[in-house]
């Protein structure tokens, strides 16, 4: 009597319980396999350097590095076709409408946008690149980096890099290692929703460099994010300005400020002007780069100017003795100026 009962129980277990445990295991395994890598579209980087060589040198390095990351990238040809279809010409930023269309077509989680900011291929080369990761659904920038590398020699000529290809490779590795590190932490949004959402109106350009305004805008965006601010993708603001037929540089009127606040939830706007973005002449050690910028921080709710300042930064500002501490990299001096401006505006606004 006991034996049939035992056999029945074992049969019952074998038929109904064990397979579910197996399925759970399989399910668990399936879950871990099905956890998707984010689906990412990499828009062609904008070239602010004024030289075609910058794009032809740096773009393949960026593509190769991205292909090694654990993202599911949209195929380049498919993306280009979509950009043509939707007539998206300015790939340095993306507006809400374009983002929605591309996200729907490709099932996107993020966009990667970037620019080649500085590029010199002299005896001492310099490369500066900016990259940002934008969440497709909210158009908030979740990660950004603006970095530059200068091939200067250290003491006794040690560490000098004279190949611009090598310099660009090191810079790209540096930038995307930072992105991988952030991705590994899951892009946890540490920025409190209680902090205001910032928008940047592109900086005005009063220099001879035709892209100085755009370059400084990307530097300031990266600085803001690295200090924990929430930042709206500049393309979203530009899309709104375009709808109202306004091409804004370095200023904004109360109507558009109100729209940014009411429609996009922007709390503060930062804008300014680049008065000087002067590199050091090649081979001249007595002249250093000079950057002069001014900026304002506005309250988007009432249009009040919360803070204003202007910064002059030169490569010899940190000079100690025997020309130690002198900075010849325009990218580094520019980023220091952007950081100083943000520090002053943030301090005055509190």
């Amino acid at each position: 009597m006991r034996r049939p009962l035992l056999l029945t129980t074992l049969l019952f277990l074998w038929l109904f319980i064990l397979p579910q445990a197996g399925e759970a295991d399989a399910g668990d395994e399936a879950d871990s396999l099905s956890t998707p890598s984010p689906h990412v579209a990499v828009l062609p980087f904008v070239n602010y350097t004024g030289t075609k060589e910058a794009a032809s040198t740096c773009a393949p390095i960026v593509e190769e590095r991205l292909s090694r990351m654990s993202f599911r990238l949209v195929a380049r040809d498919s993306l280009r076709q979509a950009l043509r279809t939707y007539r998206i010409r300015n790939t340095g930023m993306i507006g809400a409408d374009d983002a929605r269309r591309l996200a729907q077509d490709f099932g996107l989680d993020y966009f990667v946008l970037g620019s080649f900011d500085l590029y010199t291929n002299d005896s001492i080369p310099e490369v500066a690149i900016s990259v940002r990761l934008v969440e497709a659904s909210s158009l908030q920038i979740v990660w950004a980096a603006s970095r530059s590398k200068y091939g200067s020699a250290g003491i006794l000529g040690l560490g000098k890099i004279s190949s611009v290809d090598r310099l660009a490779t090191l810079l790209v590795d540096d930038i995307f290692a930072s992105l991988e590190s952030s991705f590994g932490r899951g892009f946890t949004t540490v920025r409190s929703e209680r902090t205001p959402l910032y928008a940047i109106v592109p900086f005005d350009n009063l220099t001879d460099n035709p892209s100085a305004g755009e370059i400084m805008t990307t530097f300031v965006a990266a600085i803001l994010l690295n200090h924990g601010a929430r930042l709206l993708e500049p393309g979203a603001a530009q899309e709104m300005f375009r709808r109202h037929n306004r091409h804004l540089r370095g200023e904004i009127d109360l109507t558009l400020l109100g729209l940014l606040h009411d429609s996009l939830g922007v709390g503060r706007v930062i804008t300014g002007a680049v008065d000087r973005l002067q590199p050091a002449p090649p081979g001249v050690t007595t002249v250093t780069p000079e950057v002069q910028i001014s900026g304002r921080l506005l309250n988007a709710a009432n249009g009040k100017i919360l803070a204003s300042d202007d910064i002059v930064r030169r490569g010899n500002d940190g000079e100690m003795i025997f020309r130690l501490g002198v900075q010849y990299s325009l990218g580094t001096v520019g980023m220091e100026a952007a950081a100083k401006l943000w520090e002053r505006l943030d301090a005055h606004a509190e």
Binding site: L254, D275, L298
Partner: protein, 191 residues
């Protein structure tokens, strides 16, 4: 006696030369009968550029705005609002707005005073191995009730002092000269 007179004359001549090399402060007009307490909110109209240095007017405007904001002497209207209000005036030279236009601007922007200005000089002079950057600004404030000028200042900056002319050094960059000029102009209005 002759030696003493000669010495006195030489000292006087040197003193005159030193004073001449130091440069003059701003030339200022201030309407002392106007109650400046009435001016709480102002607008800065983009400065005209009458120099050969492209962009000098815009740079001077931005610097002036920045310094004015830093002084906290007035509430300042965002430049974007000023640009929008100026669109209705088909004028090339903003420093030549008429009295009626200034009054209209004041009502549109809700300001009691408007700053107008020009960069009349922004140049670099070379002498031997040295260069001197000179900037000259003319700025005025117009009250928006009747369109009358209540303050104006003209200031040049960048000229080298007596000892710098003799012994060298003291060169200012263009941006330093512009900055010093703006500070000089504003210091005559705001202390």
């Amino acid at each position: 006696m002759k030696h003493a007179r000669f010495r006195s004359f030489m000292l006087f001549a040197v003193a005159l030369l030193m004073l001449a090399g130091c440069g003059m402060g701003p030339t200022v007009f201030l309407n002392r009968e106007y109650n400046f307490q009435f001016v709480e909110r102002v607008a800065v109209v983009p400065f005209d550029n009458l120099s050969d240095d492209q962009g000098a007017g815009a740079r001077a405007s931005r610097l002036f705005l920045s310094r004015l904001l830093a002084s906290e002497a007035f509430d300042v209207v965002e430049p974007g609002e000023v640009s929008k209000a100026l669109e209705k005036f088909a004028t090339v030279r903003t420093s030549e707005l008429t009295q009626e236009q200034v009054i209209t601007l004041g009502k549109t922007l809700g300001v009691q005073g408007v700053f107008l200005g020009s960069v009349t000089e922004s140049s670099s002079l070379r002498s031997g191995g040295a260069s001197t950057n000179i900037v000259t600004l003319v700025v005025r404030m117009v009250e928006t009730e009747k369109g009358m000028t209540i303050w104006s200042a003209t200031h040049s900056s960048g000229k080298r002092g007596f000892f710098a002319s003799i012994f060298g050094g003291g060169e200012k960059t263009q941006s330093d000269a512009m900055r010093a000029c703006v500070n000089g102009v504003l210091s005559s209005l705001i202390h």
